[in-house]
């Protein structure tokens, strides 16, 4: 989809020496990669370390990335290899069944197993973040909520959303932005306080 083009653009910037562009990719994929690695590495602190390792490995390997596959597909493979190598180095066996053919989604079963991986304080934070996002979503005017849903959950492009909602693309762009910003406003205080605390 269209945001893969953004990834490609960011990758090329990194390849030209812009380290900060890599930060943006990390921000974008840290949770997704973290979830993936957590399927292999159960201890939360360990999983976090391994995820960091995977990102560093990806950064080092980036000169060799030529855009033949999507960036996340490539990152996903690095993630799995890093996780597996970590387990082997610690004399642990990677799970025998690897139903991770699709980097896009988890099965019902996997999703529930992942809940075990949270630390208690992180679990509280996670829950608070989810609550704030869901409440904010509910409070949004219907057209903003629909536009954001079609974009983030259904993955439609602005043009497709414009067709679905029978409105100009500019309106789609505006609705999505306003929806995001409304939710962000509620999230920022929560994230600020947490930053003040420990991490």
């Amino acid at each position: 989809m269209a945001d893969r083009e953004v990834d490609q653009q960011l990758v090329e910037r990194v390849q030209r020496g812009d380290k900060h562009a890599f930060d943006l990719l990390v921000s974008k994929y840290q949770r997704k990669l973290g979830r993936l690695i957590s399927r292999f590495v159960k201890d939360p602190a360990e999983a976090e370390d391994v995820t960091q390792d995977a990102f560093i490995k990806a950064y080092r390997a980036l000169p060799g990335f030529r855009g033949e596959s999507a960036f996340y597909t490539w990152l996903y493979r690095i993630g799995i290899n890093t996780a597996k190598n970590h387990l082997l180095a610690n004399k642990r066996r990677p799970p025998t069944s690897t139903p991770f053919d699709s980097e896009e989604s988890e099965s019902f079963e996997e999703a529930s197993l992942l809940r075990e991986v949270n630390t208690p304080e992180n679990e509280l934070m996670s829950k608070q973040v989810v609550d704030v996002v869901q409440t904010s979503l509910q409070q949004l005017p219907e057209d903003l909520r629909s536009a954001l849903t079609l974009r983030e959950i259904e993955g439609l492009s602005y043009e497709e959303i414009a067709t679905v909602m029978n409105c100009p693309i500019g309106t789609v762009r505006s609705r999505i932005f306003r929806a995001r910003e409304a939710v962000a406003e509620n999230l920022r205080p929560l994230l600020e306080t947490s930053k003040g605390n420990r991490w």
């Binding site: 699709s102 896009e104 989604s105 099965s107 019902f108 219907e142 057209d143 909520r145 629909s146 849903t149 079609l150 959950i153 259904e154 993955g155 439609l156 497709e160 067709t163 679905v164 909602m165 029978n166």
Partner: protein, 336 residues
């Protein structure tokens, strides 16, 4: 010599194409035949089993019992986890367990039996889905044939079915999005087909269809509501149209019907493509504060509703959110 080669090559190419097309057509037909078998078997077979239904953030384990009796089909679904919930269906009527008794919650306005897949609905299936057989698998200890209906557009979901090769019963079914995410899934974990199945619960439903006296379980006021309901449902030409119905969806129903909690009858128009359906409900806006406007979902079902031109329009269907929204946007009155 060259003259011979050229037509040969073309002929072979043409033959291969025809063979491939026939193979495709053959597989397609096989899948459609399985679908017909599923519908038929579901109505005709006595069975009782436990199944797990997964959708959104819920996992429900339930028992379902289906009996094909002389006076029609009886079906009971009871929850096996959480608070006691039970539904009984017979002869177009639906009862739900509520406050320690069975209360009627819906009426099928007298249509005998359950709707069945119409032949012409099945014929359009092939134009909108790519049917494919995907081998066999074991479900609940039985052998099943796996068939997949992949949509040709992104206005509908993928349907994957696991059909018991002996009885034709549907033992497992999944609905998937275009990103391969399981939107909802249902599967038997235990199943008894035929044989001795408990029939003691059959007496708990209204006997109005049997022409006997009222069952002790059904309250008098519910019976009256039911009879009124049957009389008030009528086919209609409402004058409402939806321009953006996806290809292959045919109108199967257009009725005026009462609905629980509504003061006036509601227009319902139903379209089906053989695997999924879209209902459009149109009713006058009674000014009730509508705090559920917009998009909502449950498993494979998406619902979109909003007040538009003094009417409350609701679109519901086993299709992706974009489709219910698109259909909604195109609903308009075309009558006098």
């Amino acid at each position: 010599m060259r003259l011979l080669v050229a037509p040969c090559g073309k002929l072979l190419g043409g033959l291969l194409l025809t063979v491939a097309a026939n193979a495709y057509a053959g597989e397609s037909q096989a899948c459609l035949d399985w679908l017909k078998t599923v519908a038929f078997a579901g109505h005709q077979t006595d069975y009782s089993g436990v199944f797990v239904y997964q959708y959104d953030n819920r996992v429900e384990t339930s028992r379902i019992t289906h009996l094909a009796e002389e006076d029609g089909e009886y079906e009971k679904i009871e929850s096996l986890d959480g608070p006691k919930r039970e539904i009984v269906r017979h002869h177009g009527q639906v009862w739900s367990y509520n406050s320690h008794k069975m209360v009627q919650v819906d009426s099928h306005h007298g249509r005998g039996g359950f709707p069945s897949l119409l032949p012409d609905q099945l014929s359009t299936l092939g134009s909108n889905y790519r049917p494919k057989q995907e081998g066999t698998e074991r479900v609940a200890g039985y052998d099943t044939q796996v068939i997949v209906f992949q949509p040709k557009d992104n206005l509908r979901y993928t349907h994957k079915l696991w059909v018991h090769t002996d009885s034709g019963l549907l033992l497992k079914a999944a609905v998937l999005s275009d990103k391969n995410q399981v939107v909802e899934q249902y599967a038997f974990t235990q199943l008894q087909i035929g044989g001795k199945i408990d029939r003691s619960w059959l007496g708990n439903t209204a006997s109005s269809s049997r022409g006997q006296g009222s069952s002790a379980e059904m309250r008098g006021s519910d019976r009256l509501e039911h009879e009124n309901a049957t009389n008030l449902v009528s086919p209609t030409n409402s004058g409402w149209v939806a321009d953006a119905i996806p290809a292959g969806f045919k109108k199967t129903m257009e009725i005026q019907r009462p609905m629980h909690g509504k003061h006036a009858p509601v227009t319902q128009i139903v379209y089906s493509d053989g695997l999924s359906a879209i209902s459009i409900f149109i009713e006058p806006d009674d000014g009730d504060e509508d705090d559920v406007a917009g998009l909502s979902s449950r498993g494979a079902v998406n619902l979109y509703h909003k007040v538009s031109n003094n009417h409350l329009i609701t679109v519901v269907g086993e299709v992706p959110p974009r489709t219910v929204m698109q259909v909604f946007e195109s609903v308009r009155f075309n009558g006098k």
